[in-house]
Symmetry: C2
Subunit: 386 residues, 2 copies
DNA sequence: GCGCTTAGTAAAGGAGGTCTACTAACTAAC
DNA sequence: GTTAGTTAGTAGACCTCCTTTACTAAGCGC
């Protein structure tokens, strides 16, 4: 008896993690990959000898020498002299990333009133910081203002600029096209492409909360895979990293945790519905909630918000088996009863196997997470490093 | 002013999707990838000419000819004669996967009382089906029984067996090691490795609910990325596909949605806590809930379960921006008020941008999903096809 | 028949990585 | 202080893989 289990003819996208082919791979892609591998190692582990790079990557010393020679010729890597310390054999020559070779320009558009920008070194150190009042501009005017602001930052850089990274609210696709950012009056706007043309530099654009997760992943204390970063500010956003990759979602809208209902019949939300997480967890909402309360009542109020956050997080943590949930935002409100109750609630509402290893703590980067994340966007886009 | 955004030296894993290097890539890996690309296309699109393969993969005709020649030599692919229909130019020779060249053996261990097994063709057609009572066996005894069962299935195959796929409850790592499957009394058991040795065949083992998602993704009607399959049986499990890859989770426990609390102070659960989704949504729980009720009351009872399911799903759907949620299990219970209310609840509790494109419907494969998924495990592991 | 188009193959070439073998430079031990 | 052993880095030959270019095969349309 032959029972058909069915079969259909749709073609699917994928990648090469579990060998799920998507598009052709050429030797030159292998080269680019291995090159990125070397940079990645130098970026995270610091100066390394060629021989150690070979061991770390499992490429041969010959290949590493060749790759390093190219990187040195490009000015991205430099020799740093003999490795100190005595040991047998020919002493190793350390090579390291020339972190001063390039700089990165980042812009954070999270705040509706003011755009924040920075020039960063390749290691994520903030070199210059600037900001500019938006004065209610939206749409094309805002693009113009952003372009001028970016130009000013590029001019402020003391080294050639590797690229420009921008974190914006809204739904943004992989190519940096803003599908919709209602508050900025941006709809189907090829922001990365436009800016890249007018600035004559690579420009990467992504959702602000999403790249906050990227920033924490690369520069923060995040220990590895399975990370969710919840950004609390005027609104509430989230970003998720799984298997070292940012989760984008089917229509590039992943991370929209702020508008999940957590209170039945709750307060009206800017999104038109009511009881959204954002109506209780955003910074303004929290300030209002604790305004004028005595310390005990404040703690109780924060804990009750924490509990609701925990209820919303539990299914996500459970479904994805996350390792870490980080809260980014005002520590005076978040890092206390709120956080503790959220963790406690998640533990109560998930299996021990899931919650045992879970950490829920404050993000280690401050208000500059989005700037850092935008820099990672550029690092990863231009050098394959993150 | 130079503000440090911090920097740490941890090394991270990743992959080559967004160019996030993890381990070296050689030309031969490119070759394997392109080879899989060809098979993938033939698998999903059916017989194709070399020239069309070249266009589909963007490899050159020369390379495709070469790859196809190898695949023909291996007996995986065969020429099927001239493409019918008249058009200008030399007529194309169709090549197709020799789906009869190999068969796959699948075992489904979801049921504690009986193991279900099958021999499938490469297209997922069930050729032979067998089952075997477990009689309360666990631990090593169960491994022995499973080995014998697998041998029997392998003997029943009418073609060489490509590999053995096994779906089991429990936490199972990428190498097919069962971290823990309490009901089977399996703890830290290298099941895939052991079986592979004793059967002298490639063996792939993964969580049953996880591979149900894989089965739906490949053989079912799932349209693309962002898929969650919820399996309802004795228990409740889930599997998630993102970007064409199965979500495994930090400690290989992704998909444990069955033990998320959905009823405060609800019924006790086998897991030791209470109010878990499984206490209301498992098949036994649903049968009990509707037992003896008149039709209207039945509908109301099912809808109320649907609502609670929707509450648990909303944060997951929102955070991941899923495209599809599929329910797999008894249609008489699931495919009605329960499903409708679940979808309605998710819509109410998430942003329109998230829920607008969301589909929540019944899975298209029947009780054989896990067997099909286990087959995909083998297909993907051995041929790179899924 | 002749021109045009499409399918498939052959040969040469370039890119990328490995293997083997070499030199350079140090430590340790007699 | 010489010799042996170890480690770092490089040179050259070789293999693999894909591409480019050029060719043959085989049909259609006039």
């Amino acid at each position: 008896m032959t029972t058909a289990v069915t079969r259909n003819g749709t073609t699917r996208k994928g990648l090469s993690a579990g060998l799920r082919p998507t598009s052709k791979v050429l030797p030159e892609h292998a080269r680019a990959h291995n090159r990125a591998l070397v940079l990645q190692h130098l970026f995270h582990a610091g100066p390394t000898s060629r021989a150690d790079l070979a061991r770390a990557t499992s490429l041969t010393r010959v290949t590493i020498s060749d790759l390093v020679a190219v990187l040195i010729a490009e000015g991205l890597v430099e020799e740093l002299g003999i490795r100190p310390g005595q040991r047998v054999g020919k002493p190793a020559i350390l090579v390291g990333m020339r972190t001063s070779a390039y700089q990165i320009v980042s812009v954070d558009l999270t705040d509706a009133a003011v755009m924040r920008g920075a020039v960063l070194s390749l290691t994520g150190d903030l070199v210059v910081r600037e900001s500019l009042a938006i004065d209610g501009r939206t749409g094309t005017e805002l693009v113009d203002l952003l372009t001028r602001f970016a130009r000013r930052l590029i001019a402020a850089a003391t080294q050639p600029v590797l690229g420009v990274g921008i974190g914006s609210p809204g739904v943004i696709d992989a190519a940096g096209r803003v599908i919709e950012a209602p508050n900025r009056r941006w709809f189907d706007l090829g922001l990365a492409e436009e800016l890249s043309e007018s600035l004559a530099l690579p420009v990467h654009v992504a959702n602000d909360a999403n790249i906050a997760a990227l920033g924490e992943f690369t520069f923060g204390g995040a220990s590895g895979d399975g990370l969710l970063v919840l950004t609390v500010g005027e609104g509430v956003g989230a970003g998720i990293m799984l298997d070292g990759a940012r989760v984008r979602g089917h229509s590039d809208a992943a991370g929209e945790l702020g508008h999940v209902t957590v209170v039945d019949g709750g307060e009206p939300c800017a999104c038109g519905r009511s009881g959204c997480l954002e109506t209780i967890l955003s910074e303004p909402a929290l300030r209002r909630a604790v305004d004028g309360l005595d310390p005990d009542a404040t703690d109780a109020a924060l804990a009750s918000v924490g509990r609701l956050l925990g209820v919303a997080l539990a299914p996500v943590v459970s479904a994805l088996n996350l390792a870490e949930v980080l809260l980014s935002g005002p520590a005076d409100l978040l890092d206390g009863p709120l956080r503790e109750q959220a963790l406690e609630t998640v533990r109560q509402r998930t299996m021990p196997a899931i919650s045992a290893e879970l950490e829920l703590r404050m993000a280690s980067l401050d208000e500059d997470v989005v700037l850092a994340g935008a820099a990672v966007l550029v690092l990863s886009g231009q050098l394959g490093v993150s």
